[in-house]
């Protein structure tokens, strides 16, 4: 693999990690507050649909993004209602939400667009365009030179290649998702809200007796989770792709969950885990089979690797993954 190819694989890694990262941070907020969420997938999916649908109807991607977030928030609210208000089983609620999203998106898409559960392709302002950073070689330079962009890049210096391919030219949501990592770390460990949120995931009774509303905190966490999942879904449909197709999340919500466990519920580790899983995806997408030391690794193994790694982590062979103590348990005062 030459250097430029490597840069391009990493570039693709960044693109593919972004939805994982957003969903992973979403899960982090929820689970740190003691609400397990296997419904990340469903929230992403519904957001992908509504963002694409509204962007297609209005031609405005920002309206699409808002609708995606709103729809994801509705499902998050449902999860909150089931698992916080009615103290239901959080896992079952998550399963239900995934099914609900899988069904309702196609149902509505078919009703609105009659395109077999798709939205129309997004054009122009209906999509998040790549952001060209200053001094990067991009489409405009190629046009000016009258030569293909790939040639210009191939001739550029390695530094310029990294800058133009890897760093520049992503959609605004990519940069946003990477910024979300330090922001999450700061919120969790530097603010009052974060302290309380972590506390409610460890011992809700301590929070309750300190005079803080457990229900309020948990709903806030679930809400943040909804917003982040909403952005993740919108990214899929309006930035990575140009429209919604059914089941387009394709298990990314579960990979994000796996990354969350892999990261042991810590923001910076979540970034590394998502980049790793994104890299695996990028490799699996780009190469049908990969030769490592003369052994050809089937692509199926590449695809399964995030899940296998997560099981290994869960098994505690690489340090134990201890979830927030109160996670998964509804807070019940009265037996």
């Amino acid at each position: 693999m030459d250097f430029l190819t490597l840069v391009q694989v990493l570039d693709s890694t960044v693109r593919l990690s972004t939805p994982l990262l957003l969903a992973c941070l979403a899960g982090l907020f929820s689970e740190r507050a003691g609400i397990f969420d296997i419904g990340l997938e469903g929230k992403m999916l519904i957001a992908a649909f509504f963002s694409a649908a509204v962007a297609a109807l209005t031609g405005n991607v920002w309206l699409g993004l808002l609708s995606g977030i709103a729809s994801s928030l509705v499902l998050a609210g449902l999860h909150g209602l089931a698992s916080i208000t009615f103290r239901g089983n959080q896992l079952i609620s998550g399963v239900a939400i995934n099914f609900l999203a899988a069904g309702i998106t196609v149902l509505i898409a078919q009703d609105w667009f009659q395109q077999g559960g798709r939205t129309p392709s997004l054009i122009g302002g209906g999509r998040f365009a790549p952001v060209e950073l200053p001094f990067a070689i991009g489409a405009s330079e190629a046009e000016a030179a009258g030569r293909p962009l790939s040639q210009l890049l191939a001739e550029a210096s390695p530094l310029q290649q990294v800058y133009s391919e890897l760093i520049s030219g992503h959609s605004i949501l990519v940069y946003l998702s990477f910024l979300a990592v330090p922001l999450t770390a700061w919120v969790l460990f530097g603010t009052r809200f974060g302290l309380r949120l972590r506390a409610v995931g460890e011992n809700p009774a301590a929070v309750d007796t300190a005079g803080i509303s457990v229900v309020g905190l948990r709903f806030a966490a679930v809400g943040i989770c909804g917003v982040l999942c909403g952005i993740a879904g919108a990214y899929l449909a309006t930035a990575l792709q140009a429209g919604f197709v059914k089941e387009m999340t394709a298990g990314r919500g579960f990979i994000a969950l796996a990354a969350l466990i892999f990261a042991k519920w810590r923001p910076w580790h979540a970034l590394s885990a998502c980049l790793l899983f994104g890299l695996l995806q990028a490799l699996a997408l780009r190469f049908q089979s990969i030769n490592i030391a003369g052994v050809s690794v089937p692509v199926q193994l590449m695809e399964a690797l995030p899940y296998i790694l997560t099981v290994v982590i869960l098994a505690g062979f690489v340090g134990k993954a201890v979830p927030p103590k109160a996670g998964g348990e509804p807070y019940v005062k009265e037996r």
Partner: protein, 309 residues
Amino acid sequence: DPAVIFDLGGKFDKSFNEAAYNGAKRWADETGGTFREIELQSEAQREQALRRFAEAGSNPVITMGFGMADPLSSVAPDYPDTKFVAIDVNWLDGENLRQVSFAEHEGSYLVGMMAAMASKSDTVGFIGGMDIPLIRHFACGYAQGAKAVNPDITVVANMTGTTPAAWNDPVKGSELTKAQISQGADVVYAAAGGTGVGVLQTAADEGILSIGVDSNQNHLHPGKVLTSMLKRVDVAVYEAMKAGTDLETGKFTMGLAEEGVGYALDDNNAPLVSADMKAAVDAAREQIIKGELNVASYYADNSCPALSF
């Protein structure tokens, strides 16, 4: 009434199934007739759909894609009075079967020529859907066409996957397109069903040309799609419906001569297709029809003279 069973990609895949849908719709519009239809959601549904339509008296029952071959082989004998049309299948036995296949390599040859003529980088790409002989058949014709124009041209070929999901994975289509662009390709041909949507989209975004497949996809990105390799599934479906119960059974191959395959030229891509290009392609078409030019078929010995997989 006739019935159509669309394959997993769904009838609005802008490609293979949509072509069938257009054919059926044309028949319905012209005759005022009605037809039944279903879009398959899973493998397991294939047989149920076949039986349900046959039991309900639909005739003929038109099926899309090679995936229906196996269910057809077990269902068709149970309903001897029903005629079944199998598109993209030509290896079954059965009295009541009409098997229609296409000479995709011939059409692909033509668009391969156009790709080579349009390429400035002397590199063209091919992105297939599921890695099966049928798609290799496409790729092989394409590579032969490209090499006929420019023997030194590089043809980069990738397949999206090995399962039916490969027909519907625009994200992967998009990533593969980016990879091919980085390898220098400036024209990519997508023979990948719904995945092709991602290929064409990315090609348009990145400022290179693309080639659509099955249906005329030129309109998806006007001025960015060089042409589309037409596979006249719509004609096959339309004719089957028009013949109705009098449908002739047997095996049929639709090639350039039968206008079963071809390339698309319309307002959307007219500025991209130069007169030279058109002349060269049309000449090759004539030669193929007359038998003066032989495009090697991948099926002949499961290998391709112009491309290795």
